[in-house]
Symmetry: C2
Subunit: 174 residues, 2 copies
């Protein structure tokens, strides 16, 4: 991957050149938005690289973690879709793969026979317990040099941004 620092330089220059052609371009906002997309993408890549040796994608990982952290280790596809932010189509594929690897099981709910009950297996739990700890140092490294206040600020600003996006979506629907 091209280094992010270089891409950020190109971004700054590109936005500045664009502003000269289209003067009312909101420089700060566009730069921030692109910065966020860029850093988010970089983090995603970094995470996937870390997961690849275990033959997991991030969506598989999120699904597995959701089950792992669930009180009784079980859930349903639709609930997992919400947590992992996936469409049902994709969840079908993901659970197929995890079942094949013996990390989860698929069963039928007797309460509602439409629903599928997905449960993490003992193997699945072991797998996650081995998987997580090696990721902790990395998680700290991402935020090396961040003060506690920095982390609080970043969290606050991202949550505010999320609220704005929700608001925009709600407006768009009407």
């Amino acid at each position: 991957m091209t280094r992010l620092a270089h891409r950020i330089d190109m971004l700054d220059e590109g936005v500045e050149r664009a502003r000269q052609i289209v003067p009312d371009l909101p420089v700060a906002e566009v730069t921030l938005a692109r910065l966020l997309l860029m850093v988010g993408g970089g983090l995603q890549e970094e995470l996937e690289r870390k997961l690849k040796p275990h033959k997991l994608g991030d969506s598989d990982f999120r699904t597995l973690i959701a089950l792992f952290s669930h009180p009784d280790g079980s859930s349903t596809p639709s609930e997992l879709c919400q947590f992992a932010a996936q469409g049902p189509t994709n969840m079908t594929r993901i659970t197929n793969a995890l079942v094949k690897r013996g990390l989860i099981t698929r069963g039928h709910s007797e309460a509602d026979r439409r629903q599928v009950v997905i449960r993490i297996t003992a193997d699945g739990r072991r797998f996650v317990r081995k998987l997580l700890p090696p990721m902790f140092p990395r998680a700290h490294a991402y935020f090396a040099g961040f003060s506690e206040a920095d982390k609080r600020h970043l969290g606050r600003l991202l949550r505010k941004l999320a609220a704005n996006l929700d608001h925009l979506d709600a407006d768009a629907q009407r």
Copy 2:
């Protein structure tokens, strides 16, 4: 799409439950990282939704903008790859599509006959000039309620995070 606010709630709860099982989980860092991925993804979706009516994906958009903001409106695939953060494979597909729509042209460089020279057409410039302004209000809306200091902080923190990611990558290579 499920609202981000709801997904953030689930994230907070999930991380807290996971911490109870795996006590040394770095709560703040994991939450921030996931928050960033989530908001980044939300912003990406929002952007793509906005571009869809024009039959553009974000990568096509970035490519077109790169050419538009380039001094003489021309570049080469490999340079565009850097700017748009795409592999060469994908750039071939993107430029194929844009050429077919008459927004760019493909030619051969006489200096280096391996290189392809890509140039934005007059139609392409017109297209971008129509495309951009309607996006400005949205760009402002994303950051509604952000003070100037908030924007500066967010930018600073994202750039610092980018530097950390670069550093990690560089280390991983050795």
